[in-house]
């Protein structure tokens, strides 16, 4: 996915280190009205109020998903294009389903079958899509910052569906939504995140979102897969995040946790020398029934998928009573409906107060 060079260049603006600091540069940057969202590029630029509004809306969207007739005309006449420069099944299908339930036309650009394989640049692809009058762009790209780059050159709202090591904001929102369903308020809740924190855009976005919503985050993973300097006992001033702790071992991380999130171990990591052996990783960091018992009773277990059963998660807990993996997938559709609705319903003139 990424070479070591890219890792180095993308690390300084990875978002975790400068929580809340990195503002997105927008060409048509207008002061964002408190609840309005133009692009969804990362979690950094969302306020806790905006997150709460999106999660509240997701409740309404989840109800639409459960109807016999799963179709509304909310985004009728809108065209949403998904461009995935990386493989994905659940995220792409989730966006497609979300757009279609809201009545939009969704076009999926498969990069291998498009002009990109003829060498078209991201910039030209973006301009081409803009010329086709698309109303929203959903982009996944292996390079951190690619959706920000596109957002700078197109008028349509852009949703980041995962970029390099940087961000996966809709995954963070669906995780927050799932946790809110299970735990209510995030305030003061201990959330353990176990695994490859360094290379995981899911971890980065989740940490930022959880911290914004007031949770206490405990991280645990092999030292080779943690951001530089993030080691057990490191002070908040060094990480820049007061409510994030780094645990020495998985037992300490899970002890009394209100929820447990485990991250996917990408098998490429072993080839890159970050992990000596997947079985050793499983022994030291894999979530199994014995370890999950250290967390609070009925603590939900989250996994962003796809799961490597037997590596970061054992099969019995992956499909056990505490697993909320399938709920995460369903919630993902609702959250993406809320996101698409929020960004697409902007831009039409409407006199204030035409209806009570």
């Amino acid at each position: 996915m990424t070479t070591r060079d890219e890792v180095r260049t993308t690390k300084p603006d990875n978002g975790v280190a400068d929580a809340g600091g990195g503002r997105v540069i927008e060409p048509d940057a207008q002061p964002q009205a408190s609840a309005q969202i133009r692009h969804l590029l990362d979690v950094d630029s969302l306020t806790p109020e905006q997150i709460t509004t999106l999660l509240d809306s997701s409740e309404g969207m989840l109800e639409v998903l459960s109807r016999d007739v799963k179709k509304t005309p909310a985004l009728r006449g809108k065209t949403i294009v998904t461009v995935f420069y990386e493989n994905s099944t659940r995220t792409r299908i989730s966006f497609e389903e979300a757009g279609k339930i809201l009545g939009a036309d969704v076009i999926n650009v498969s990069v291998s079958a498009s002009s990109v394989s003829k060498g078209e640049s991201l910039y030209n692809t973006a301009l081409t899509l803009q010329a086709m009058q698309v109303d929203a762009l959903v982009i996944r790209h292996p390079h951190s910052g690619a959706p920000h780059f596109v957002a700078r050159y197109v008028n349509a709202p852009v949703v980041n569906a995962g970029d390099g090591l940087h961000a996966h904001p809709t995954q963070a929102l669906l995780d927050l939504f799932t946790l809110r369903q299970k735990l209510g308020s995030m305030d003061g809740k201990k959330i353990a995140i176990v695994g490859d924190v360094l290379y995981s855009r899911v971890a980065r976005s989740d940490i930022l979102g959880l911290v914004k919503m007031g949770a206490d985050v405990v991280l645990c993973g092999p030292p080779t897969l943690m951001p530089a300097g993030w080691r057990p006992g490191v002070s908040p001033t060094e990480t820049g995040m007061e409510s994030v702790r780094i645990a020495g071992d998985v037992g300490e991380a899970l002890d009394g946790a209100d929820a447990v999130m485990t991250l996917r171990i990408q098998r490429e990591r072993q080839d890159a020398g970050h992990l000596p052996d997947l079985r050793e990783y499983s022994n030291m960091y894999g979530i199994n029934r014995r370890r999950l018992a250290l967390a609070k009773k009925d603590a939900p277990l989250l996994h962003p998928g796809p799961m490597n059963e037997g590596v970061e998660i054992s099969s019995d807990v992956a499909h056990g009573a505490q697993s909320v993996v399938e709920e995460q997938v369903r919630n993902g559709v609702a959250v993406r409906m809320a996101v698409l609705y929020a960004i697409c319903s902007k831009g039409r003139d409407r006199a204030a107060g035409t209806d009570e």
Partner: protein
């Protein structure tokens, strides 16, 4: 909402007692029109329409001895002007029974342009084919933009376009009262 408008002057057009009497009358009218049909379903438009629908259901129980099921509907996804979307979250719709073959009374606090009612009618059609759909509103303030008329109305209040009808209900606002507010434009929004 509409933060470039500030409240200029406000007067009370319905007191708590007025609201109580109007809803009692509407309850009787609903029973009269539907001949005491026990299949009756009330569906309130989020949020104050739901509280009014609940009050009508309580009245119907009092007068006729049965409680009609009350649903709540957020028609926002069916609007043709989804601008308020990003300001207020979409709320879950809850229709407790299939509407197939039943008489339905849709309930809202204020009838104005009629666009909310149109959206609500579209939304309702996904929950079964009702035998009839009637519409009740506490206040009709005029200025219809669509061919929609109410079947039951609490009070007709002639208004100007720059006025705002504010319905306050004790369930969410501490008091029962309807105010007519004149808004002064204090700035221009881009």
């Amino acid at each position: 909402m509409a933060d470039h408008l500030s409240e200029h002057e406000s007067r009370v057009v319905l007191t708590g007692d007025d609201i109580r009497r109007a809803l009692a009358r509407i309850s009787h009218e609903i029973l009269e029109r539907n001949g005491g049909n026990r299949d009756l379903v009330l569906v309130g438009v989020q949020t104050r329409g739901v509280h009014i629908a609940n009050r009508l259901a309580t009245n119907i129980d009092l007068f006729e001895g049965f409680v009609p099921p009350v649903g709540s509907l957020d028609p926002r996804l069916f609007r043709d002007d989804p601008e308020q979307a990003s300001v207020q979250p979409v709320r879950p719709t809850s229709i407790p029974v299939s509407l197939e073959g039943r008489p339905v009374v849709l309930v809202d606090d204020v009838l104005y342009t009629g666009r909310t009612v149109r959206a609500a009618l579209n939304a309702l059609s996904d929950f079964g084919r009702a035998s009839t759909i009637q519409f009740a509103a506490l206040v009709d303030r005029g200025h219809r933009e669509l061919p929609i008329r109410p079947d039951y109305i609490g009070k007709n209040i002639p208004t100007a376009r720059d006025e705002r009808v504010k319905v306050k209900l004790s369930e969410v606002d501490e008091v029962d009262q309807v105010d007519l507010v004149r808004l002064a434009r204090v700035g221009v929004e881009a």
